[in-house]
Amino acid sequence: MEQLIEQLKAQIIEALSFEDMTPADIDTDAPLFGEGLGLDSIDALELIMLLDREYGIKLADPKAGKAIFASVRTMAEYISTHRTK
C-alpha cells in the first residue's frame, strides 16, 4: 500500500502540474479538496482521468467521488481494490 501511495502522489503532482512539489510535501491523510491541497473542479476531472488512464478504473457513480477523493490514502485504497491494470 505504501508503495502505491508514493506512486500515486507522484502521478498527482504530474497530472496537476504542481511544480516544486515532491511526494513528501503531500500529507497522505490530508483532504485533497478545500483544505489540504485545495484542488478545484478541473483538478477533480484530472484525477478521474488519472484513475482511468493509469489504473483502468472508470468512475460510473459521480457521488462516489467524494469519498474516493477524500485523501491520497482513500484514493490508494480504492485503487488497490478496483484496479484493472
Binding site: L16, S17, F18, E19, I42, D43, L45, E46, M49, D52, R53
Partner: protein
C-alpha cells in the same frame, strides 16, 4: 489616449518602459523564471497554458512593477482588459488535440479549459480584480488593435490594459502590452 507604461516580451527578452529586465532562461522557462522572481504567490500560474502565462506575466510586471501607479495623477488600476493576437489559442489547441489522438483517448480537462484565447483576459481580470470589460480580438498584426481601441472604446473607458499577446508554437511568443489612459 495616452500610454502610461508598456512591456514587451519575446522568448529571449523583457523590456519594461524601455528598460531591459535581465533574464537567464529563454522561451517558456523564462516565463517561469519571471514568475518566481516577480510573483511567486499564485500557484495557478503553473496550470495555465503558455498564452495565459505570457499575458499573466506581462500584466503582472506592467501593473505591479512598472511604477506607473506612483507617478500618475490618475488611478492606474485598469477597468478593462483588451487583447489581441493572430493565432488564437492554437498552441494549446494542438496540445489538447494530442490528448485525444487515436489510441490515446484521455482528453485533458485542464488543457481543454484553455482552448479559447480569451481565457487569458479572464486570468488577468481575476488576478487584478478588474470587473469591467474584457475582450480578445483575432487580428492580422498588432497595429490593427489601435483603430479598435479608438473606435470602440474611446470615451467609454478611463484606463485599460491593452495589447498583443501571441503564442503560436512552443517557445515562440510575443507580447506587447500597454497601460492606456483615456484623457476624457
Amino acid at each position: 489616449m495616452k500610454v502610461e507604461s508598456q512591456i514587451e516580451i519575446t522568448p529571449t527578452s523583457v523590456v519594461l518602459n524601455g528598460q531591459a529586465i535581465a533574464v537567464e532562461a529563454t522561451g517558456e522557462k523564462m516565463l517561469v523564471e519571471l514568475y518566481r522572481r516577480f510573483v511567486g504567490d499564485y500557484p495557478k500560474f503553473f496550470k495555465m497554458d503558455t498564452l495565459s502565462r505570457l499575458g499573466f506575466i506581462a500584466a503582472e510586471l506592467l501593473l505591479k512593477h512598472s511604477g506607473a501607479s506612483e507617478h500618475s495623477d490618475k488611478s492606474c488600476q485598469p477597468t478593462a482588459v483588451i487583447l489581441a493576437n493572430r493565432s488564437a489559442s492554437i498552441k494549446n489547441d494542438r496540445d489538447y488535440l494530442a490528448t485525444i489522438s487515436e489510441g490515446n483517448y484521455y482528453p485533458s480537462p485542464s488543457l481543454f479549459v484553455y482552448t479559447l484565447p480569451n481565457i487569458v483576459t479572464g486570468e488577468i481580470a481575476i488576478r487584478h480584480h478588474i470587473q469591467g470589460e474584457t475582450a480578445f480580438y483575432i487580428l492580422e498584426k498588432p497595429e490593427d488593435l489601435e483603430p479598435i481601441l479608438l473606435s470602440t472604446f474611446n470615451f467609454k473607458l478611463s484606463t485599460a490594459l491593452a495589447g498583443w499577446c501571441e503564442c503560436s508554437e512552443p517557445n515562440s511568443f510575443y507580447a506587447k502590452m500597454q497601460l492606456i489612459i483615456w484623457n476624457n
